[in-house]
Subunit: 384 residues, 4 copies
């Protein structure tokens, strides 16, 4: 696996954007000192950075290798207890150009969480919207509002803000998964609340059902329980099982092969996880999708306002984000900053027994942009 | 099966509601003649009927027995061809107090449709919203927009207005099912359009897939194809399979037994068929639901603005609508007029091998009332 | 004023639409008798009428002359008291082809209401949505929820269902105005409720303010009272004053003259009365607009699903609806049935002192069609 | 005017919130070095700051005096030209605890803009949503989409993102006003675009009409132009005139005096500027309101998620935000950070000729919080 960081020259934004400034005379110097004293800043010295022609992300494209993450998380499992105060054994991706903060992008948090056999993570709730996605393993149940929700490879568990939740590992193996939240966004706009719940969940919640109650109420396609009707901002369905995601993606590629509109471009199937009460995103601020790129296919470079984090679920390939290109394989995570073009190439299958498709889970801050009228997308043609 | 039409006295609305009228003098008679000549009608002579204290349906509660319907439909299969012009071998329920019109209620059309082995019903489209529900049989595919959709016992197929559709019977048996439409409503407000399509569908549409393309795109719980996103007034999912409906109902009764909120009242599970693009009703004017009343349970009398038609899918029981009480069994249909109280009693199971639940499919005009701010519901307490 | 009812031949729908029927054999006759006995009706004998290629209204275009209405209403003022039971001295337009029912169209009620000096109309409420429009006169206040709302020439007063309301005439002259309601629509779908209120309003409600409280809270352009926020199905603004309507129409014609997009076609200004809480129609089922057709202008024939009633507010002209053409002048009312083309011609001004524009108030059932996905409009080009 | 910055001790968040940390062993140190090397950050060391129990704003309450701003802006008028590149002679409020950035709060930009007689500010457009509010003066027109919009004392001019706009001063006096934008918010989430327009506007746009075309189309209460219908994310009404705002506020206090619900608390009238196409906020990200606090009234301390900036329009009084209390008078601006309680006291009127009310214009980021399900408000009772 190679990291070809080709020709990334630090762009001198100041040189490009700073407008001509008025000649600095003693009077102007005096005026600027007056501004400073009175806590004022003129627009004409700042406009180039503040109001650029298009988004220039402070974040940098970056890839994290799953094997390294998992090894470090395993060591944390041995050395760091889970309990009240620290709350979770979660280790966050820190974008290389965001000052060491635990931010994958300016709006998104992505972390690997690790729970040892028999361990519990204590109950709490927060306004931050969250989800879990499982790239491998099983045996942990997330208890949301006292409803134990199973987690297995490929499962996606959204959990809207202000729901009580805890985790318990009922297996005899450690288990890792990724957490995604809007922590940086809510930190930035200063809207977040947090409360501790019970330190220990009850025995009744320590059960390990194959389906959560949320799935039994809401997990039937196009079917809503009349007793629970009404649109909710977060999805009441707390687990989207891999078997359904997988089949939906296969169906799209099959339909494409039969000559019907189903994929978003040739060889590129994509599904969105939706809230069954309104057909919208599962979380108020976070969009979640699953993409399958057929063997040998390369997607058209596309840029969007807002940032995304991807995790490779299966297969191998090459990903290009702006000036960065990486090889990726199962579990690897990478971040796509705002308005950086992304292209994904699936490695052609070597064997007959393997579909060779590249499967990727994706989450982004797109709902924020769409609700506030700031969403833009641009797909490049052949000019790369 | 008995039809106990207990104590239905024709209410003299005029006696009750007509306000005191001004004494008829020669001058007033002359005025009334002036009104008539100029195509005018005074409110004070009409208000009692036009603006009653609550809805008094022109329709009457009525039950149709499935065995009779099926027998007559079978004879029509032998005597009446299906083809362009007549369009469908459909036989509609005519409410006994709506003047012989083919209206189950003032807004709803309900018919048994019958197709012989090898027969086609020709393609057409209309603004009337429609659905099919299958109480028994299999072998017919409804071709909607050239997508063949399978029909088997328990399946529900919504089909919003202005979609091209045809049927073909690929089996060696006749097949019957029910059609529901908003024909009377659209006839009343005068908004309907109709167009003939092709007389013969192509061989490519004569296939008999287990799942339609619509199901392959939209039939995965909480999962939307990114290439097809956007809220639509009618559901893009064209078949809701019985296995999912059945499981959702069972899950509700199981959850109730475990002590959780899931049913709409004790022993009464209910699901609504919803449009996955927005979580709302599958059709702009028609609501569709499935109800399961556990063995020995009697539902609380409830009245609503708007009318409903029910078909018994399984089990047996007793239904009371206003002053009417009927025994019902598999396939029987009954209509509940606006603001008439309905109660359903499931027959206690005689055997151990049978759940004894009474399963009912229901459709109603509730979306019209909800969108126009006219929906009201009233559930009686214990006072029957 | 002439009524040129040119070439209206009764169209034989049966001849045009009835499909070929199966040959009537004894077996078929027997089957049809079976249908009848079991309260069933086959589709194939009814489809031509029930599902026509486009709406064919049961209603007929018709014009009522204001002078005649007013004269008859005045006689009713002398002969018929207003009071509890009859509720209102309202005289409704009865479409000539709707069987003598007080329906202007299959969905709309339009009536002239008349109140003598010092008279009260008692308080009541109903789910029927209503409005008043004043073509001439002043001196009556409609008391809605105990808030007296003034009525003068050109004022429009919407009043959503289920609000208590009464009228009192504080002037020394009789006053007439028109009432519009959705009585036929609610009667047809059977959703209506009605309640009597107080027989006599209090002295505090007998005041005659220049602006109602609703106008003081909501009558400022683009400005909402923070204490009353939240979208409501009916407008909280209870009076739309003529001075604003008039100015908005003048502004559109002026903007057009200056070269800007403002009118709906050349010389044809149109405003819609909207609910300030959501920008939608003022009533859940009724759309209300004001049109101004500049002197000498003829509007393009346009047809829509749904019906409208117009009242001439000022000016004179010629109106063509389907096969009917009438001269119209101040106060005249006419009805446009579903899918009938309408064209309006303003009489060229004879004098310099008069703008010569034809001003028309319009109400229709368009919100019903739009909310239920049944709205269609077609504007003819030059081919009349 | 005094600035009593009472007892603001820098809160040691670390001491309060940092959870107990695991004992640092050599293995743990090694793990932490591994995290650092791999661009990872553990949650358990950061959670106290990242996920606090409630918002703790990085911003500080602060007041800027208008007299000082105006004096500095006047000097800038003499020293700094307006032109392409610098774009505007705007001087922004820089919150004292946001590192010298031109941010009034983490999401909001507020600036005084100053234009000399005969000057133009060149045309541009940007996705940032903006408005102008005029505390004194007149003579400038903001040309939005080639439509010149007048600006006078008390007028409010919203301007949604991506509209071309320029300014021209047609008077013989300089003019100042405030600009509000969502620059910091869009900078943080990285969604902004910017484009230069024409350097010089045409003579046709240099006119000085009393009403803009937008006002002629949309400035009539509850009345929409049929040719322009459809909900828009930004208001099509580009100027909300002071006469309407003033009258709406007076009406509320009068209604309160007459005993009716109209104000948000006793003696505290408030209106919101709304988009007439949907009744919502005039801008997708910014809420704008006007408040009038009657003479001698003190408002109940209230805290909200999200931040606000206020400008005193008239009157004088005392404002308390968290631990800060200031005297304020005409033109003064102050910022209320997220979740800081605000109370406003109007100075009792000294003279008979003056109403003594304190009038304040307010803008905030509330739409962001409401659309993303993060809005919370808390009004304290008597316990201050």
């Amino acid at each position: 696996m190679t990291d070809t960081r080709a020709t990334v020259s630090p762009v001198s934004l100041a040189a490009v954007d700073a407008p001509d400034q008025p000649t600095v005379t003693p009077e102007l110097e005096d005026l600027y000192r007056g501004f400073e004293k009175e806590l004022l800043v003129p627009l004409w010295t700042e406009i180039g950075d503040l109001m650029p022609p298009h988004p220039r992300s402070k974040a940098q494209p970056h890839r994290w290798e799953w094997s390294t993450l998992l090894e470090l998380a395993g060591r944390a499992g041995d050395l760091v207890p889970v309990g009240r105060g620290g709350e979770r054994r979660a280790i966050a991706l820190a974008n290389p150009s965001l000052g060491g903060k635990p931010y994958a992008s300016p709006t998104l948090w992505a972390a690997i969480q690790y729970l040892m056999p028999g361990e519990d993570a204590p109950e709490h709730r927060h306004t931050q919207n969250a989800f879990r996605f499982v790239v491998e393993g099983e045996g942990v149940w997330t208890v949301v509002g006292q409803d134990p929700v199973p987690m297995s490879r490929g499962d996606f568990l959204p959990q809207a803000g202000w729901n009580w939740h805890a985790h318990h590992n009922a297996a005899d193996q450690p288990m890792a998964w990724i957490d995604g939240l809007d922590i940086p966004f809510q930190y930035g706009i200063e809207g977040q609340f947090f409360e501790f719940g019970r330190d220990v969940i009850s025995d009744a919640e320590r059960i390990t059902p194959e389906r959560s109650r949320s799935q039994r109420l809401w997990g039937h396609p196009g079917i809503a329980p009349v007793s629970q009707l009404g649109s909710t901002q977060g999805s009441p369905l707390l687990c989207y099982r891999w078997e359904h995601t997988d089949r939906a993606l296969s169906d799209q590629l099959d339909l494409e092969a039969e000559g019907y509109a189903a994929t978003i471009e040739r060889g590129h199937a994509a599904i969105r996880f939706t809230n069954p009460t309104n057909g919208l995103d599962v979380l108020p601020t976070i969009r979640t999708e699953f993409h399958r790129v057929a063997s040998g296919v390369e997607t058209a470079p596309t840029r969007e306002t807002g940032s995304s984090v991807y995790q490779v679920f299966d297969g191998a390939g090459t990903v290009t984000v702006g000036d960065f290109t990486w090889s990726v394989t199962r579990g690897d995570l990478f971040v796509v900053p705002s308005w950086q073009p992304l292209s994904i190439r699936s490695e052609a299958s070597a064997s007959d027994s393997d579909s060779g498709a590249l499967d990727l889970f994706r989450f982004s801050d797109a709902p924020i942009f769409e609700k506030l009228n700031l969403a833009r997308t641009e797909t490049e043609g052949t000019n790369r």
